[in-house]
């Protein structure tokens, strides 16, 4: 038996070695060998990375954009690489370390500061400042592509989360409409909980999805990340604790649920309400019940939601003029509306498209568009957002699992977060 298990042992060592290689790729040189833009016959090659290959529909939308652009710009050749969502950040980071950052990449808007602080991105400040389209976008969308008072990205597509509710279950419980305030939410959730059915579901997994879902409650309570530890943050923690541990109207399983788990639970009728983004539409439509979407119930400081979606990041070594031309073309709704709205399931992120009926690719878009103006970007918390995010989800998990009371958990998170804020 010893002989047959040697490979297994080797495998153990190998897998470790692979992990080691992946994190040991430092010492990269900054050679500008990438992007042979403007080479042979004045044909410009633009390398393009995104993670929209997750569904045939989104994949097709991106290909359609590229095709249209190449047709109207015959001198441009776009080389697209679709990368899985889970690997995307790591791949980009490795590419940056070896000086091979793509010319243009659709990165999560909260990641702009990481790559900007890494020195991987082109400074677009002069282009952006003079850009007439800039002021079309909602202010926080513009804010989300800034780092250290400079522009390192171009707005692309946005989305946010809101409250989904099962109209059939609401009718059965005799509740007229969606909850407007936290107090309503608590009352309704309690009334909608029985047996296997939970009143309210949300993602509280120990991942960015947990933070993405909890931050809105801090904002709704009147708090913010730099002031975690104050009364508002404790109130938000108290609120989720009431739902999960006092009323038990949200199952404790939320501690291991990501957004797609929550979408599945709602779609199977086990949750009467959930907070989630438009990307779980597929799971919801599997359920044969009437549903609708409403804005997040308001806390002391009103409603609030997180800004999701991607911005265009431009690689430092890119042919900035050629890429800028592409970004500008992509930002024109006349060129890209169908692909970005329906194709990529996005919510309008411009002042002039928020109420545009042409953007309502599904009835639910109206509610999300109504929520959108109260969205908050996460990139403003700087390049160490990933660590800050861990402190936030850990704080929520400590409270929901009963390890710490809200005040202690918030104080401990504050101690972790304070040194991580700022631009360096």
């Amino acid at each position: 038996m010893s002989a047959t298990h040697r490979p297994a042992l080797l495998g153990a060592a190998l897998s470790l070695a692979i992990l080691a290689t992946a994190c040991g790729s430092s010492g990269g040189t900054t050679s500008s060998s990438s992007a042979p833009s403007g080479a042979a016959g004045d044909k410009v090659t633009i390398t393009w990375w995104d993670y929209f290959g997750y569904s045939p529909q989104s994949d097709q939308a991106v290909n359609s954009l590229i095709q249209k652009y190449e047709q109207s710009h015959p001198n441009v050749d776009i080389q697209r690489t679709a990368i899985g969502f889970a690997d995307f950040r790591t791949k980009l980071l490795q590419a940056a370390a070896t000086g091979k950052f793509p010319d243009i990449a659709a990165v999560d808007n909260s990641d702009i500061p990481v790559f900007a602080s890494q020195g991987a991105l082109a400074d677009l400040t002069s282009k952006m400042s003079a850009w007439p389209r800039k002021d079309d976008y909602l202010d926080f969308v513009v804010q989300s592509v800034q780092y250290d008072k400079k522009f390192y990205g171009v707005p692309f597509r946005s989305n946010t989360t809101a409250l989904w509710y099962n109209k059939d279950l609401f009718k059965k419980a005799g509740i007229a409409g969606p909850p407007q305030t936290w107090q309503d939410l608590r009352t309704d959730a309690k009334a909608l909980t029985s047996g296997k059915q939970s009143g309210f579901c949300f993602a509280a997994a120990p991942t960015e999805e947990g933070t993405f879902t909890f931050l809105p409650m801090i904002w709704q309570a009147g708090g913010d990340v730099p002031t975690i530890g104050d009364g508002a943050s404790v109130k938000a923690l108290q609120f989720v604790n009431d739902l999960v541990n006092v009323d038990k109207s949200a199952p404790k399983s939320v501690l291991q649920w990501g957004q797609s788990d929550v979408g599945d639970q709602f779609g199977s009728g086990l949750c009467a309400m959930m907070v989630n983004g438009p990307w779980v539409l597929g799971s919801v439509e599997k359920g044969k019940f009437a549903w609708d979407v409403a804005p997040w119930p308001a806390g002391d400081a009103g409603t609030a939601s997180p800004l999701g979606g991607e911005a265009w990041a431009v690689g430092k070594n890119a042919n900035v003029d050629a890429v800028w031309q592409l970004a500008d073309w992509l930002a024109d709704p006349a060129n890209s509306r169908t692909e970005i709205s329906e194709g990529l399931s996005s919510i309008p992120n411009r002042k002039d498209t928020l109420d545009d009926p042409a953007w309502v690719w599904h009835p639910m878009v109206k509610a999300f568009a109504q929520q959108m103006p109260s969205a908050h970007p996460r990139g403003v918390y700087g390049p160490k957002y990933a660590q800050i995010s861990e402190a936030v989800w850990t704080m929520e998990q400590e409270v929901l699992s009963g390890a710490k009371d809200p005040q202690t958990a918030a104080d401990d998170a504050k101690a972790k977060i304070q040194p991580l804020l700022g631009t360096s």
């Binding site: 153990a12 190998l14 470790l16 990269g28 950040r89 990481v114 020195g119 120990p206 291991q256 998990q397």
Partner: protein, 301 residues
């Protein structure tokens, strides 16, 4: 093979005396393996050790001018309660599940000794299921509201994977389920190798079944138990996917183990230096376990 090499070597420019050639030949045969080992194992490991002594983060990855910080990454990791917790969890998780799966595996092996081969294949089916599937299935089975396990035992609102006191024990349970087939099959092989005559002789000498197990089976099975135990420890200690998919180390780090912590540090937070330090700790443990295993195998031979 050797003659082939020598005939090809003869017309070449390199002419070596026969004696030197004879000493060189075995090393040349080992060369491909050596290159493989250096390129795919030694190089990344050395790089990882180097990384663990530098302050490599997302911010200085590009420039490559990360500061040398000596043992700072290790000191930081060791003084971090998250690391201490993850270490404790790793040890409990590995030792706990391996001990249980050896006992259960032994019981099953003894039980099935008469009809050994057919049934062991059946057990291996569970072993062959991808861990992603196992983890997802157990997430569902162990759910607090709709899970099968709660239904089976008539429990209500026991959130196995979302309760900070139950998450680690539950994961140990899943790991035992995964590891028992391996333990059973290995022990079964060891059992069938014990000569029947020894049992017969001890039975004639008046040993009961308990005494036979204690004085015949166990001593003769010792090397097999040790080998199976150490291998299982290695598998379990480095296990990442099962816990990552089932709980992601939660709730509130209650099921965080060293591999999931290392992954989070490196791939989610881009703290390469600190992550490398954690991964090196895993490496040292696995290396020591491997040494024990290799020594054990040698002694067996």
């Amino acid at each position: 093979m050797t003659s082939d090499l020598t005939t090809r070597a003869r017309p070449g420019a390199l002419r070596l005396p026969a004696g030197a050639r004879r000493t060189l030949t075995p090393y040349l045969f080992a060369l491909p393996a050596l290159i493989y080992l250096i390129g795919l194992l030694a190089y990344p490991m050395v790089l990882n050790v180097v990384t663990s002594f530098r302050d490599v983060t997302a911010m200085n990855l590009l420039s490559g001018d990360a500061d040398w910080v000596g043992w700072s990454n290790y000191r930081q990791a060791f003084s971090d309660s998250q690391f201490v917790d993850a270490t404790v969890h790793s040890v409990l998780y590995s030792l706990g599940s391996v001990a249980i799966q050896l006992v259960v595996g032994m019981a099953l092996a003894l039980l099935y000794l008469p009809l050994a081969r057919g049934l062991s294949a059946l057990y291996l089916i569970g072993y062959a299921i991808p861990i992603v599937v196992t983890a997802e299935v157990f997430r569902w089975l162990l759910d607090g509201k709709t899970g099968f396990v709660n239904w089976l035992f008539g429990l209500h609102d026991v959130y196995w994977l979302a309760d900070r006191h139950l998450a680690l024990p539950a994961m140990i349970g899943v790991q035992v389920w995964l590891g028992v087939p391996f333990a059973m099959v290995t022990l079964l092989a060891g059992l069938t190798a014990i000569p029947r005559e020894l049992f017969e002789a001890s039975a004639i000498d008046g040993a009961g079944s308990g005494a036979r197990f204690r004085y015949v089976t166990l001593p003769l099975l010792r090397p097999t138990i040790l080998a199976a135990g150490i291998l299982s420890l290695i598998f379990t200690f480095k296990n990442f996917d099962l816990i990552w998919i089932a709980t992601q180390g939660g709730p509130a780090n209650a099921s965080e183990v060293l591999p999931t912590l290392g992954y989070k540090l490196v791939f989610l937070q881009f703290l390469f230096g600190k992550g490398a330090a954690v991964l090196n700790v895993i490496f040292v443990v696995l290396f020591l376990l491997s040494l024990v295993y290799v020594r054990q195998v040698r002694r067996e031979d």
